[in-house]
């Protein structure tokens, strides 16, 4: 007998991201189409192809002849899914259920012949796939429930929103990113903390509390995050469910035609281009939320990113210019975003996205510039410590992320350990914001450029 070399799959073997992701997707689709449970839960780290999975599952369910409803959280997400579906399968008739407000959907949908749009669910009856927001679905009543549903961004959906729509379907695929911002309520909900159906908890928390046996999958590869970012984001925000980047260290490059002028912004840009991360540290100090120096520093970095004529090379395409559309600025508060917009306008920059973490969820850019949520603060509140906020801000980029922050945040974190009251019966979320913030700061400290504007 001769022995043949058998490919081994132990830890020492090379990690093939494409194959790993394909295996995970196949298992998810199998459970969705042929499983016996009423629900399937998929955890997806940032940029792991969640939308691609949703589109693929929708197409396969439609092909199997199962009427499908898709629940997303915002109109933009619904429109994005409709466009992706049409791109993949231009012939498939799709229903877009929308609100009766003015301009309820993206005008780009009007150009698609196979997409029927209506504010009434009855007009869309019989279509293989109907998509809408959770808020709109909540107003729909049906005699016979849909055979299947896909709930997108399920971790950002509140439990009470799921309660309002769960009667519409028999089985469902729940997809979402557990590391992003938790849903919130504008009034206190401590009264229900610890109840399995706490209406302010996330939909997945409630679903799994009542149905612990549901199959849970996760997508193992982030195609968005570069090799420099995936390990940090995975360790800091997904310590028990690690993931890898789909690309290797040399697959992406960011370069600038105009050399550095030696200023702080230019030095931090070079550091970020080389290593994927850059920390522009301003002198310590307590400032108002719209810290003029920090806001000015953010605007200066963006201005220099554009002035220096950047080129991004990635596995997806050849060299592509770093245009304003490929840059985003992330902040914690809306007034900070407004201040940055004003500062950018003052420097003549247009077309760069500036938004809060909440609104940047699910978006992707080549380079992001982040105003650290704790910069200049005298205290560390639960809002500013929230793990999801930092995770969103630190995981929007394909190439590099520049964080602008005042010195002293590490000391601030040590002065304010988490003091949220412990509620009986609630699942403690790991990691807590305190620890995640420290992990990110410790990593950023290796890419620090100090600057006094």
């Amino acid at each position: 007998m001769t022995t043949e070399a058998v490919p081994r799959t132990d830890a020492g073997a090379a990690f093939d991201p494409g194959a790993e992701a394909a295996r995970a997707t196949a298992a998810i689709l199998h459970d969705t189409l042929h499983g016996t449970e009423r629900g399937v839960v998929v955890d997806s780290p940032p940029g792991a192809g969640k939308s691609t999975l949703v589109v693929r599952a929708a197409l396969e369910l439609a092909a199997a002849g199962r009427p499908l409803m898709v629940v997303a959280q915002t109109n933009a997400q619904v429109d994005d899914l409709v466009l992706r579906l049409a791109e993949q399968s231009p012939e498939l008739p799709v229903g877009r259920l929308h609100s009766s407000d003015a301009d309820p959907y993206d005008k780009a949908l009007d150009a698609l012949d196979n997409v029927r749009k209506s504010a009434k669910a009855a007009d869309l009856a019989g279509l293989p796939v109907v998509l809408s927001t959770a808020a709109k679905w909540a107003h729909v009543t049906v005699d016979e429930p849909w055979r299947h549903a896909i709930v997108d961004e399920a971790y950002q959906m509140r439990s009470d929103a799921l309660l309002a729509v769960a009667g519409l379907f028999e089985r469902a695929l729940f997809v979402g990113d557990p590391g992003q911002l938790d849903p919130f309520a504008i009034v206190g909900s401590e009264q229900w903390a610890g109840l399995s159906y706490d209406p302010s908890a996330s939909a997945v928390t409630t679903l799994l509390a009542h149905n612990p046996g549901l199959p849970q999958h996760r997508l193992p590869v982030s195609w968005r995050l570069p090799a420099s970012a995936a390990p940090l984001v995975s360790d800091a925000f997904y310590p028990f469910t690690p993931f890898r980047s789909g690309t290797g260290p040399g697959d992406r490059a960011l370069s600038f035609a105009v050399p550095s002028d030696g200023s702080g912004p230019d030095r931090v840009i070079d550091e970020a281009a080389a290593s994927g991360w850059g920390l522009l540290e301003l002198p310590a100090g307590h400032t108002p939320r719209t810290d003029p120096e920090a806001v000015g520093a953010v605007a200066a970095v963006v201005r220099r990113l554009l002035d220096r004529d950047g080129t991004a090379v990635s596995e997806r395409s050849g060299p592509a210019p770093l245009t304003p559309a490929r840059i985003a600025v992330g902040t914690a508060h809306r007034d900070q975003a407004a201040a940055v917009r004003a500062a950018l306008a003052g420097l003549g920059v247009t077309g760069v996205t500036v938004d809060t973490a909440n609104r940047l969820q699910g978006r992707e850019y080549d380079v992001t510039v982040v105003l650290h949520p704790l910069s200049g603060r005298p205290d560390a509140t639960a809002f500013h410590l929230e793990t999801g906020r930092l995770c969103v801000l630190a995981s929007r980029h394909r190439h590099a992320c520049v964080v602008v922050c005042r010195a002293g945040v590490d000391a601030l974190l040590d002065d304010y350990p988490s003091t949220e009251p412990v509620q009986l019966g609630t699942t403690v979320k790991f990691p807590d914001g305190w620890e995640a913030n420290h992990a990110v700061l410790a990593h950023l400290a290796r890419h620090r450029v100090t600057w006094r504007p």
Binding site: L163, A164, Y197, P199
Partner: protein
């Protein structure tokens, strides 16, 4: 905290006196509120020590539990409380007015108008502080599942007849107090804190004496700040606070030096009375017991009376403010809530369950979020000072109309879409397609942001409330020179989605509640620790 609140606090620090945070009163105040000043026993959750209660500021009723661990005495206290509170509440259940409510017809499933009774007014309970609201809730929970001898002859510790009913009302009031803008059960510190800004933290504002000292310092005090410090710290020669805390918790120095010895004397007198062998001895010992009880009553009265007076002083201050325009509307919602609870009791429904089911919890959360948004909008519309705060936060802007250009929408029937240019010094957070609203005769009129023509010039397109014709109705479009105020937040709240009935709770939320808890709820079982 908003920028304008911080500014008001800084001004208060500089002036040494509270600054107004509102120009109108944003909560309803009854003509005849019931004031309730409870005290609790340290270390014994839910063991009342005593209370001052009543509707007459000059004649409060004093209720005292001389030995708070004695359950019979506690029941006697609760029965007495029920005899005061329930007649007050029930005095509002009789007078009704006719009102309409939309209900779903069970047969056709259509929404139909039904004529129903609405209580013309409702009972209002005022407690000194937020902790008092929690105590009301706790009392309600401890009473509503109790069984009376009439309901259950077998029950080992029957409650006095009206105690469970009081528990249901207090529970209802405690739950309603969680609804933003509601006024059935109010804490005086919250009321004052809403209308004045002091130079101390909101935590310190929970001290009613200190809060009042900032707002209305005594004439001999050099400043509100010093009067507040005195209210918090000053003690007499015996080490007792001059201004006792508003409760329900008491000052430890009072507990240790005055209350504990008095209760011990009472206990000794009781033991002695029980051991009395003949009539004359019993008479004498009964005298000693009565004296010991009178002593505790005097102690409780001495700690609650200052708070009682402070609550009424606070009511005086608040009544000097005119009521906000939307206060009456919110009070009507409170009356609906009151009427609803009255009807549930009349219909013989069981007490509120210990925990909400999934659907009830979701409905409550949705209602409270809607009421919070409604309250925020209404307070701003009612009060220029609150609106100033929203303007400062970029959520509203006010200014003068500089120009109006008439344009029309495209389509078969062109509708007026006037372009209005407003000059404002505010810095609203306007972006592409942002909608703004202004109040037009109490109804919101919407407009779209068109462009920022200059740093202080905002161009808007009015889109509705101009009538059906080609020409806008008179007065529906602002004119050059008008002062206008637009908000970025909506003035009215849409109703939320209808949730399934509890018996149709879906599988994602554990299915109908009946399937899990087939056994009806019983009160907590007695443990050894319960009987001391």
């Amino acid at each position: 905290m908003s920028l304008i609140a911080t500014l008001a606090q800084l001004e208060a620090v500089r002036a040494g006196r509270a600054r107004p945070a509102a120009t109108v009163r944003h909560r309803h105040l009854s003509d005849r509120p019931l004031v309730f000043v409870p005290l609790t026993t340290a270390g014994e959750a839910g063991a009342p020590l005593g209370a001052l209660v009543g509707t007459d500021r000059d004649a409060p009723r004093l209720l005292v539990v001389p030995q708070p661990r004695d359950r019979d005495l506690r029941f006697a206290f609760l029965a007495e409380l029920a005899d005061i509170v329930l007649p007050y509440v029930e005095s509002y259940t009789e007078a009704v007015e006719a009102a309409e409510r939309t209900e779903t017809d069970p047969e056709t499933g259509k929404r139909v108008k039904v004529e129903v009774d609405l209580c013309a007014d409702a009972a209002q309970v005022i407690v000194p502080s937020r902790a008092g609201v929690d105590f009301v809730r706790l009392l309600g929970r401890s009473m509503r599942f109790r069984r009376t001898a009439e309901q259950d002859p077998e029950t080992p510790h029957p409650a006095p007849p009206r105690v469970p009913l009081l528990g249901r009302w207090l529970t209802h009031y405690g739950e309603r107090a969680r609804v933003p803008g509601s006024s059935l059960l109010l804490a005086m510190t919250d009321l004052l804190g809403r209308h004045w800004a002091t130079g101390q933290s909101t935590l310190e504002d929970q001290h009613l004496g200190a809060l009042l000292a900032w707002i209305d310092p005594p004439e001999d005090a050099p400043s509100g700040a010093e009067a507040a410090l005195r209210a918090e710290l000053a003690r007499d020669a015996d080490g007792q606070l001059l201004c006792p805390p508003a409760g329900p918790a008491t000052d430890p120095a009072f507990d240790n030096r005055l209350l504990a010895p008095a209760i011990e004397r009472y206990d000794r007198a009781r033991t002695a009375l029980a051991a009395a062998e003949d009539g004359p001895a019993a008479d004498q010992r009964l005298g000693a017991l009565t004296a010991a009880e009178r002593e505790i009553r005097a102690l409780v009265a001495s700690r609650t009376r200052p708070t009682w007076d402070a609550v009424w002083r606070g009511l005086d201050l608040l009544r000097e403010l005119p009521a906000g325009a939307h206060v009456e509307e919110r009070w009507t919602r409170d009356r609906w809530s009151f009427t609803g609870h009255r009807d549930r009791i009349l219909a013989g429904e069981p007490p509120q369950p210990r925990r909400d089911d999934a659907v009830t919890a979701a409905n409550k959360l949705a209602t409270r979020e809607r009421e919070q948004a409604r309250l925020d909008a209404q307070e701003a519309l009612d009060d220029p000072l609150v609106m100033a705060g929203r303007r400062l936060a970029g959520e509203a802007f006010a200014g003068e109309v500089m120009d109006v250009v008439m344009t029309y929408s495209e389509g078969k029937r062109p509708a007026p879409r006037p372009l209005v240019t407003v000059r404002t010094e505010d810095r609203p957070r306007l972006g592409e397609r942002v909608k703004v609203y202004r109040s037009l005769g109490g109804r919101p009129q919407s407009a779209e942001f068109v462009e920022q023509a200059a740093e202080d010039l905002v161009v808007l397109r009015i889109v509705d409330k101009m009538g059906r014709g080609k020409e806008p109705e008179a007065g529906s479009v602002p004119e050059k020179g008008d002062r206008v105020c637009f908000t970025l937040f909506e003035h009215e709240q849409r109703g939320g989605a209808k949730l399934p009935d509890p018996e149709r709770t879906p599988w994602t939320h554990g299915g109908p509640p009946g399937e899990r808890a087939a056994v009806p709820e019983a009160p907590d079982p007695l443990t050894e620790e319960d009987v001391l």
